[in-house]
Symmetry: C2
Subunit: 311 residues, 2 copies
Amino acid sequence: MSKLVIVGTVAFDAIETPFGKTDKILGGAATYIGLSASQFNVNSAVVSVVGGDFPSEYIDLLSNRNIDTSKLEIVKEGKTFFWSGKYHNDMNSRDTLATELNVLENFNPVVPNDYKNAEVVMLGNLHPSVQQSVLDQMETKPKLVVLDTMNFWMDVALPELHSVIKNVDVITINDEEARQLTGEYSLVVAAQKIHEMGPKYVVIKKGEHGALLFHNDDIFYAPALPLKEVFDPTGAGDTFAGGFSGYLAKTEDYSFENMKNALIYGSTLASFCVEKFGTERMLTLKEDEVNQRLQQFKNLTQFDITLKNEN
Amino acid sequence: MSKLVIVGTVAFDAIETPFGKTDKILGGAATYIGLSASQFNVNSAVVSVVGGDFPSEYIDLLSNRNIDTSKLEIVKEGKTFFWSGKYHNDMNSRDTLATELNVLENFNPVVPNDYKNAEVVMLGNLHPSVQQSVLDQMETKPKLVVLDTMNFWMDVALPELHSVIKNVDVITINDEEARQLTGEYSLVVAAQKIHEMGPKYVVIKKGEHGALLFHNDDIFYAPALPLKEVFDPTGAGDTFAGGFSGYLAKTEDYSFENMKNALIYGSTLASFCVEKFGTERMLTLKEDEVNQRLQQFKNLTQFDITLKNEN
């Protein structure tokens, strides 16, 4: 069974959407990635940090899903990272109301010893130096390193971001961030420029408009499932990344062709995440629900045009 | 061979994009629809009006492609409809600089006698009463009526628009227009409301983000081909509609399954239209170029996940 190392935040979120608001609930990139990847038959470990205020039940939610939390550091005298945001009516934009780094400010990630030979490393959104530190601890070269990042790190830690990007196979980034990173409006040209920075595979996430996978001149497109309502988009990108990396770890096939399937699995899982607040929907998700939605993705995208040069 | 009636503007356009600007060139919804549909083996007729200032060479461009122009009325003392627009840097928005209706103001469309039994009617963007007048002239019930419209008619002729929408099988409309017409933000909910207005099939165009086809609870999604650069978006929506209706007229299969293919053909042809100014690219387009790009669409969208309940 493949091993998957996940680094990222484990956090408290307070969310406000047009449908309602929450108190402090379970959140964080590594949380969403871990819950999503746990849909697959892989061994995963979360490398992160929380404060003494973090409920042990939240940690149990992860460890009950076969996620190794031995290197989820608990700083007893510290407070857990806290993010609060409010979504606008169109759900495509949001205001950040609060960001309290707390224990994240002095975080030194530690990879569990028996994960230093993991096949897949998923570097969730965090300071690029923390992401690099995880890579530096690996004793065998991973088969696949996936990195997620955001515009904030382009603003405050661009050289460090460029350094770690050189060392990854896949980067996942949203459309505006791809444009910011490259100065190119066309996503095709932006992806080419990001290839030149290191990653052989570039995933550009377009929210409700789906996601594009670029590999040299090849492009694959996974739409987002059109939904009657999006209840809370928080964690959708991380859930996508968790599904993508989890599926690849499970299938142990890191080809472009199989990454297409990984992109569809990522989109499928993300389409559940947005149906309820926070992690709520991911915690009740069943395998047959996932399979049913994969069938919807097939119906949504597959067509039957036979060209002359085909059989 | 199926017959296709096309109504819409035949016009002069003056276009400015970040790549350059044109003088008055050939444009108009019916022009783009006709050129696009002429990629298929169908008999088509354009019902429209131009002024005495319209060059006969432009009419020849259409009739040379097996498009019946006998009811393209020429008002000798009148001037041709003129539209001028300037695209912003992102190419997704534009300012209209001039709209001169001219001969369109008193246009009474006349369907050629031998097209009054046409299988397919494509109602291009025009006043909804003109669109209805074309339907009223049909002597046999068409197998398929497709209507394209725009926000302008929602502002100035909403009751007439609702009247004609009742009588069509397919409506093509962009995302903002679907929201305006229904007051719903979710495109899934908007499509449901448009179903209730009459059309059994609803196509929502999202520009660079592709197009969605809705039929009751079924949804199909055709992406737009990701392009290095979009040179001039003018006519892309009409080219899409021409490819969609032309393909259906050629194959004589008006099922939802075949409409998926029609959507892909429409997207394929539109991806060529935007490569050069105005109709320029469509005038040189070859069949093997279309087939090559259809293959790109397959590569872009087709994946290979086998589910448990499938063979």
